[in-house]
Symmetry: C2
Subunit: 260 residues, 2 copies
């Protein structure tokens, strides 16, 4: 579950994965970002396969916008990697209040937080047409026992999620609506950039209400703040299309947001 703002870029493993991608001709771009690609049978040609790699069961799954990948409380069987599309993860209070915990895009891995509890702790829904790989956790755990690299990468991934979560606490705890939204947009920008898309201009995949929920704001405040940024000449907003007029100065103006 990606609950928070990303690091500016994810350094080492991406590099490695990209090098690997060139070498091994990964089927799709998302796999180059996926931390689990070494386990993925379709991603690794037979010649290079580890003998036990066979045991890790990957399943492809297609979702339409609005489809649930899994529900809070469902038994945990698999972790997932996003191949294409986008999803949101949500948690719900007893009284029905819902909070978006994060947005997931191609290459993101999710459901790691279920390992402890054997049940999913959030609901994940596709917000556009989406493909995911399901990776059986049982077989993954087995492979991790044998492959140290993999196990380390996995711990690393988990602990990265925690870093993101604690950054998000800062956002929700200390920042104004403008700062929250700026942080959110800069996060999206850097994530799209990492995926080879434009950092300056992109389509939001989610509604104002979902953004608001994620940031602890109402949809009206999100809308007003976007309008404000536009009035100030910082952004061009047209429905879900966002363009930074000057990305560098925007980032600078809100730099308090980007790590200490």
């Amino acid at each position: 579950m990606s609950i928070a703002l990303r690091q500016r870029a994810i350094e080492v493993p991406i590099q490695a994965a990209r090098a690997g991608a060139a070498l091994l001709a990964l089927p799709i771009a998302a796999c180059a970002r996926c931390h689990l690609w070494q386990l993925c049978t379709p991603c690794v040609p037979p010649a290079e396969r580890q003998p036990d790699a066979e045991r890790v069961v990957f399943t492809r799954r297609r979702l339409l916008a609005g489809d649930l990948l899994f529900n809070e409380g469902d038994t945990f069987h698999s972790v997932y990697a996003v191949r294409s599309g986008s999803l949101k993860s949500t948690v719900t209070l007893q009284d029905g209040r819902e909070q978006v915990g994060g947005f997931l895009f191609a290459g993101d891995v999710l459901a790691l937080d279920a390992i402890a509890s054997t049940r999913h702790t959030s609901t994940v829904m596709a917000i556009e047409d989406t493909q995911v790989c399901a990776i059986s956790y049982q077989s993954l755990a087995g492979a991790m026992q044998r492959q140290t690299t993999l196990q380390r990468g996995f711990s690393r991934q988990l602990s990265l999620e925690m870093v993101r979560a604690s950054r998000m606490l800062l956002v929700l705890g200390r920042m104004s609506a403008q700062e929250r939204l700026a942080a959110f947009l800069l996060d999206l920008s850097s994530r799209f950039h990492d995926r080879g898309q434009s950092a300056r201009e992109f389509n939001l995949r989610m509604t104002r209400a979902e953004i608001g929920s994620y940031l602890g704001l109402t949809l009206e405040t999100v809308s007003r703040t976007l309008s404000l940024f536009q009035q100030q000449g910082l952004l061009a907003v047209e429905r879900r299309r966002i363009r930074f007029v000057d990305l560098e100065s925007f980032a600078q103006r809100f730099e308090s947001v980007l790590q200490g």
Copy 2:
């Protein structure tokens, strides 16, 4: 790093650890709660030691109130287990705004989130006189390679932290000042209870300002809200001493807070 509200109780591993405690006569109570006690040379009598347990290096460290355990950005060498006392973990924005990320008590394990980055992502300070065990991560990682149980327990611990973090996001994102403070007090109550202390009455170890920072509120709001709870006959507050007039009904009144 404990960034969020705890589960009501931590089930399986505690049970196991307590059974172990009885069997092996752990030196202090905190060790019975510590997820790493199996590695702890003083905790495991020579007869029962795994041959590679020797390699995990534990160091005791004493801190006075106000002492730093480590600073944001310090190189990461060890994870820590709290033996006694309390600490707070904080993160800071460039402009100096600070956010308390969590409070740590006896038996808690911290600095797990540094694994990914090789640097500590938060500053941890003792808020009263405190003892910790420092566990060399290098030797811990080695032991985990050999002991599957340990490695699984570690992943479990990491993923528990994530569950807590996402619960905290709910608190900061969706809840009013009263709900936040109620959630905080109930969390403390259950944590003290887990440690064999009273769930109904306890001393806050932290200032109003620290509570406020943790909950995304000002210290004045914390103070006013405590006064309000007292006026409503829910709490008896006297400086840092908190007593629930009726813990069950208090919990019920704010039950929206406690998981779905």
